[in-house]
Symmetry: C2
Subunit: 413 residues, 2 copies
């Protein structure tokens, strides 16, 4: 029997306890022996819960109990998750976490300590909730040169964008609805500004390159600028808008970003709707594959944690090589990334055709009935080129005492 | 350095040789050492190929060379693949195969020998081409009770159905086109009659239950009965028709089948089109996840083979527990499986309303303009109940000297 502890009895932590109990037989078979939950660390008491008699408040109890071989961290945040996880690894315990903030900020160090201590530091649940994606990268796609990872990695924003797409709602109303349903937090910034997606794509990029990635190097733009008008155009174009976390790897150079991207039905991620997540991985031999499922939620995420517990149990005396080294992966400036651009412009195309063509070259033009604006879809160009073109265009428009560009959404069409 | 041999230099075998060469560095890093292709067994010579000097014609060379640790079988079929693979395992070599016929027919015995000899028998590429699905079942979803696996597992039939759906083509024309493009063989029976899908869902069912599954126990129906008229109705219903291999597991009982199934956009497999494959897995904690990608093709399938080579290399001295035991998993009779049924009936609904309601109970009715027929969609019922109802209905119609049921397609709506 292997003894384990859970730190943080919130949504995911309680889900882990539930699965360890309900799927006890399956887990014992796969792990080679029973996994027994010994302690649950939390500040609170849970007198009516099934783990009432396992609740402890002092981390030292876990750290100093040599019988505890596997520690599950589901507290979230960096304090005290980071010092606790570090202490557990230094004490020679395996650690499994669902904490993307922890992995993005301290993964390099924690992976190094795990290797030195010949234990495992596993974090499948930190990206994509219940969807296997970290493990496929080190267990299934090992022979591939990964060329691109693009994910819809945040269920809250995907729910909001799906609502806006299907029901024509404004961002504000869709957000409110998401909050009422418990899909979005009262302070939704981490989701809607893209910070959550940024940490996840940073982790995936580090997995794919084998090098440390600083999430702060990744250009990050959320969905707060996206409007119902944008989706009216999207409908006309047969497209949708999704919040992508993307990294592209070519000849050792990496571009990475988080931003809303306009895509059409030919994209495997087009049909990833509501709170679901999807992760597309492109390999040099495999081509495109996609992993889809519940990107959040108590039991799906806890299921990924339990898979890590089993992997740790299967490798109690050996360190599984995964993750990345101390070497730093530089990220190319966003100006070097190439896209097509969907651009909404005030006024009428008839009057501005010359200026548009001069600034952006060949474009496709779209007009909505009864709107004093139009939209163009540019050819593919580098972000730096686009910015220069847009600045030149706007300057000319100002000289004409007119409004210029009202919106820009990157497009993968 | 680990020495390997490939048996069968066809599409996949040559793909394996190509990836071992082109991704040499990635593979060496993951495998812990270089993988060197020593022999390629084939009846033919390939004087202009990169493996010209590695071609051998005598299996004994591989069997009797103790330096060969990993043997890749990409010959297909059972003879001589089965005796060769068995001999390799008995000689203490690891075997990796892409051969679904071999795994479906002899997997139980080959897995047992591999265990006895403390080597590995791996077959990721036998199902879903390049899509990781076998490995996720034993590496990622280990803590789950699998409740259902449903896959679009055959690219040829999916291409044909996609053509019929999008372009209104007949089955015969769509098949011809698939043959002209090389997606379908001159003798397409194994694909269009569902035999290929049957072997694949048998393998997945055995992986999920941990028990031997006889593919001959699985009800198998192909797509040759599906017509352009069916897709006209499907369009009206907002649905499509896909060839599913499905197994459902509940309380130790397993139903499994291969058949065309009508689904709508809410099904994650709806958007799996053309030659792509998709596999949906439902677990008791995880809920639904889906794996999507290239289900066939030289390099994608070879990539899955290479991932197995790397796993074998990482476990040269240990047997990885996967697969299933000798214990036989019984499959429930198809009459016990539940569906809704899409049924096309000759004549007019106005005249037959009473008979329809009497036979099938509450139904939804659909009519196409200018057709002397109509369609109904039944409530969910067991296949046995449906068959009895359909027989009773047909008998009454014959008494009325009229035609009865023209088509039945199972529906998951």
């Amino acid at each position: 029997m292997i003894k384990a502890a859970v730190m943080g009895y919130g949504t995911i932590g309680s889900g882990v306890a539930e699965i360890l109990d309900q799927n006890r037989d399956v887990i014992a078979k796969q792990a080679g022996q029973e996994v027994e939950l010994q302690y649950v660390l939390d500040l609170r008491e849970f007198p009516d819960s099934p783990v009432a008699d396992k609740i402890i408040h002092d981390f030292k109890v876990i750290e100093e109990d040599p019988e505890i071989r596997i520690v599950v961290e589901t507290m979230g945040g960096l304090t005290p998750a980071y010092p606790f996880v570090k202490a557990c690894l230094l004490a020679g315990k395996h650690v499994v976490t669902s904490n993307k903030a922890l992995v993005a900020a301290h993964g390099t160090e924690l992976l190094r300590i795990a290797k030195e201590k010949n234990v495992n530091f596993l974090f499948e649940a930190s990206v994509g909730g219940g969807i296997p994606v970290i493990r496929p990268l080190y267990r299934c796609l090992m022979g591939e040169r990964i060329q691109e990872i693009t994910g819809i990695l945040n269920g809250t924003t995907n729910y909001i964008l799906t609502k806006m797409d299907r029901e024509g709602e404004s961002f504000e109303n869709a957000l409110k609805e998401a909050q009422n349903l418990g899909y979005a937090e009262r302070n939704p910034e981490a989701d809607v500004e893209g910070h959550d997606t940024c940490r996840k794509i940073a982790i995936l990029t580090a997995m794919a390159t084998g090098k440390e990635v600083d999430y702060q190097d990744i250009y990050t733009e959320g969905i707060t600028r996206i409007t119902d008008i944008d989706f009216k155009y999207a409908e006309k174009l047969g497209t949708s808008v999704k919040l992508f976390g993307t990294s592209r790897m070519k000849d050792g150079k990496v571009t990475a970003f988080v931003a809303p991207v306009m895509i059409d039905k030919s994209n495997p991620l087009y049909s990833v709707s509501d709170v679901f997540n999807g992760i597309m991985i492109k390999g040099n031999m495999l081509g495109t594959s996609m992993f889809y499922g519940s990107g959040a939620g108590k039991l799906p995420t806890a299921s990924a944690v339990v898979a890590d517990i089993i992997e740790a149990a299967q490798n109690l005396t050996s360190h599984v090589e995964l993750g990345w080294s101390d070497e730093k992966q530089s990220i190319e400036p966003m100006d070097q990334a190439s896209f097509r651009y969907f651009v909404r412009i005030a006024g009428s195309y008839r009057n501005k055709e010359q200026d548009v063509k001069q600034a952006f070259g060949k474009v496709e033009v779209f007009e909505l009935y009864g709107m004093d604006e139009f939209a163009v879809l540019t050819q593919e160009m580098k972000e730096g080129e686009f910015k220069a073109a847009a600045a030149a265009f706007d300057e000319k428009e100002q000289a004409n005492s007119d409004f210029g560009i009202k919106q820009m959404i990157r497009a993968a069409l």
